[in-house]
Symmetry: C2
């Protein structure tokens, strides 16, 4: 049985205060915020609910966290939380869902179009004051594969339809299987990737997806296909990707996520001509968006309704 | 009454032979091709039908053209033909319709996304090996205005829906008015432009649309709005656009067409920081696409059916 005004702790190294303000503005007045381990330790003993980003998870198994009932992550991916198996089972973990689809799908089509229309050639012609009328390719009729067709993948599929693309999908369950032209289960990766012009990864990182794009799978893709990763860096074996691309396989790789972030300053990806590196920005957790999701969930919590985005620890997301 | 195998002349300074081959492959065997005025003069006396690009229109009013019944342009815009008022009234003029929507709408969204997601910043960060996570804007919720909602504008509207944009439209007739959230007729330009985040011009060039985007209209647009021109260069007063943008008005202009093409090598547009110049390439006339349209129209012609894309010379397109 929840109280109508539960004790909430917001933890975020940079934006804790902004989140706390937003939540208080919605009438939940019992909010503390912490930006460091020490501050978290101070407030945890009375805390029932945590809204957290980069939270020091080891605190959750200590006695100071014994009153914590629910942990809401500010992100969609919770592999960092899941990997800490000491988090007590009685703490409900939730992640943000249905929030990043619009942003991430815009990012994906920004780069698909940038590459297919050959914007770099257009920009270079302008720099040289050169009239250079050429016929670029079209996305229409091309085949896009979306690995992971949850709320993010679903938005990518919807936009792909507007561009008259063929759309394939791979996922672990049959959910949403009907939205794609051809659905593959996770034991059919090779069959899935071999026909694609574009492969977009939106998968969570789990034991099943870790480095699923290894040398063998990358080589199973068409030589002139493009890979886009907006899921998690470790879905790809980065060493394999570098050597495969250096051998001339794949037309381009658009990478927003990396096994280790921030990407090291001397990482080869930065200088590879067909690799587009961005800084984990495709699906930004805005204070407003996350807070709104959290407030909705808070209202469910105080009314004893089922929360949105509950993480299945066995499944891994 | 048409013959089943009419005499056809293909005129194109560069691609006449390729067109002729395509047409012959479809069983219309009486095809000549010309790449110069002199060659055209040689073949015109027996010609009934012309498929032409950059055709020397003055020949059409001469006696050597007395057997010409139909002139099919290889493009969607026919302002160059219309402007020659000496073309005999008994020659039917047709233009390509329903062919460029996919290409041009891809071009439009390439640049809308390039600008809204701030790709230049992402590319620069990569060059500097710099991890630079920032929150870019989204097309979702923004208002796009499409001036000209024929077959090209219609495709732009369809894609804008997939990006959850609000869509306004301006056109001279009520045709397609129902596909936009708010429709304006051509006497309501100022009301149309003032709410827009993005204005895309797909209009034909006529006496009514010539330099319709002059200083006054450009200043009626929101200061941080973007202008995209995929119609005709002379829809815009280019001198006014330069001075208005130099004064800090408008966030960006994406220009694929110009009053004089090719754009002069020393034209200011090339070096203006927020002007994106491309070389009239957004809606390419491919030999295959144009030939296919022409073959369809040829079959209508020999069967005495109404042709597609008939130009109304009074209306101007």
């Amino acid at each position: 049985m929840s109280t109508p005004n539960p004790n909430i702790l917001v933890y975020s190294p940079k934006q804790a205060k902004a989140y706390a303000q937003f939540i208080q503005d919605y009438g939940f007045t019992s909010v503390k915020y912490a930006e460091s381990l020490e501050e978290a330790e101070r407030y945890l003993p009375d805390t029932e609910i945590i809204l957290g980003w980069k939270f020091p998870t080891k605190l959750l198994s200590q006695s100071i966290s014994s009153s914590v009932r629910w942990f809401q992550s500010t992100g969609a991916g919770v592999d960092d939380l899941i990997s800490d198996q000491s988090i007590p089972e009685n703490i409900i973990l939730t992640r943000i869902v249905d929030q990043f689809g619009a942003f991430i799908s815009e990012y994906v089509f920004t780069y698909l179009l940038y590459i297919v229309k050959d914007v770099p050639r257009m920009r270079q012609s302008q720099i040289e004051h050169r009239w250079d009328s050429f016929i670029s390719e079209s996305l229409a009729g091309k085949t896009l594969g979306v690995a992971g067709i949850g709320s993010i993948g679903e938005e990518i599929v919807r936009k792909a339809r507007a561009f008259n693309m063929n759309v394939y999908g791979l996922s672990f369950s049959e959910k949403n299987a009907q939205i794609v032209d051809c659905h593959f289960t996770s034991d059919k990766w090779r069959e899935f990737v071999k026909e694609l012009d574009y492969l977009v990864l939106t998968l969570p990182l789990t034991v099943d997806t870790y480095q699923v794009l290894n040398r063998e799978m990358l080589l199973a893709m068409k030589q002139d296909s493009c890979l886009v990763n907006v899921g998690r860096g470790a879905l790809i074996d980065e060493t394999d990707l570098i050597s495969v691309m250096q051998s001339g396989h794949l037309r381009a790789a658009v990478l927003d996520v990396f096994e280790s972030e921030p990407l090291a300053k001397n990482h080869p990806f930065y200088s590879m001509p067909n690799v587009y590196v961005t800084s984990h920005l495709s699906g930004p957790s805005t204070v407003e968006g996350v807070s709104q999701f959290f407030i909705d969930n808070l209202n469910r919590y105080v009314n004893n309704q089922r929360l949105q985005g509950i993480v299945d620890r066995n499944r891994g997301y």
